[in-house]
Symmetry: C2
Subunit: 235 residues, 2 copies
Amino acid sequence: MPNLTEETNGTQRRLLDAAVAIFAERGFRRTTVRAICEEADANIAAVNYHFGNKAALYDAAFDHARLRSNEDNPFVQMDEARNFHADKPADHRLYLFIRTMLEHQFRNGKPTDLTRLMTHEMMQPTAALDRLIEVSVRRVYTNLVKIILDLMPPGSPPTPGSSASGSTTTSKDRETAAHRYAMSVSAQCHFHHLALPMIQRLEPKQRYTPKALDDLANHIHRFTLAAVRGDNSPV
Amino acid sequence: MPNLTEETNGTQRRLLDAAVAIFAERGFRRTTVRAICEEADANIAAVNYHFGNKAALYDAAFDHARLRSNEDNPFVQMDEARNFHADKPADHRLYLFIRTMLEHQFRNGKPTDLTRLMTHEMMQPTAALDRLIEVSVRRVYTNLVKIILDLMPPGSPPTPGSSASGSTTTSKDRETAAHRYAMSVSAQCHFHHLALPMIQRLEPKQRYTPKALDDLANHIHRFTLAAVRGDNSPV
DNA sequence: TTGCAATTCAAACACTTGTTTGATACAGTT
DNA sequence: AACTGTATCAAACAAGTGTTTGAATTGCAA
């Protein structure tokens, strides 16, 4: 079994690249090992020789896509640096968060391979999803919650959930409110690739070029800021 | 070819019910006609006899799920009555919209079959998605845009997108802003079933019982209201 | 060169799965 | 009872697909 981490340009690397592309496009079930091998200019038996079987190749391809995505994407900074731009004010950190998230999801106007792979996992969760979440998504999400907590004015939230009559805002209330807000932000960031076919039909003019992503980030930023802070002042 | 619209409890009706359930759970590719026939207590040849082939059964099942969902769900009222609760104030209409949308997506704490089918279509669009959108989704979306337009204060939007220096807010600006808001609302409403496996891992306490859906609807309503109107006044 | 391990290859295998077939049973009509 | 169109059934078919196999090839070291 050869070294998987090395960046050889041999057949196993080509297999991984081809696997990422085709798994991302069609999902696990619809892709055939024959299609992958053809794309990678490799023999059909290469998959089993280098990875054991199709499922193991999928696993390796998923991680490969994650690592490859980290190479050329600022997302990794957000992931590993716990205090992402901690010096900037919270509202600006929120904008950077949203912008980075969107840029991470679209490339050349289309969803990235890793994004597509993750979206397929939403319909067909495997161990790869758990790994991705534990290794990356959870920290990003926690970071978002922190930004929002910094953003919330002292008095908030108005606590519609807790029907207790006491008007005091407990720390726990703030926490759960921040999580709700974080969910709303995540929803707005992820919706565009999760529901792309629907959006394309409802809003045919919607694009995901860098310029369009900038507009989108600005909108989500404003939208969220107004909701969390209770005002609508421009950035 | 027997009458498909009649509500016979014969094998073809049983096939449709079984097909909806299994297609919703596993998607088109992972479901086998054998599994459907077993669930429906029918012979394997029954699918081809009654529907021609697997794809045609899927199509029929999709429409069957849509019609069946309309039977016992207030969504159909929102769908067909163009002016959904037009007498109520806009903010209340927004709440009803969100609440109805969420109720339409979850039943017994789980995504409904039609919702699951639609989510699979996001990864694997077929003609069934086009039909669903043209017959139902587009009108609902248009309705949402109308509600939001009623909700927007006269001066809005602050137009971050149009970089033209003119400070006059054109009717076109309002329209595009309303569409962006509608996208944010849709995102918040659809996120919970589109990204369910991720949410379950990030927020394990999240539930979709009627009570939880009510809390969720209240949150989305407040969140949106604050963003669109630029205030945070309680309902 | 020789030997050896790693790799590649064409072919075949085993299994799943959508579809078809031809016979059989059923229900209603004449 | 005989006929007819509908429906069901067990069995088989044909194609696709993940996997295996055993030989051939390559790359490298002794």
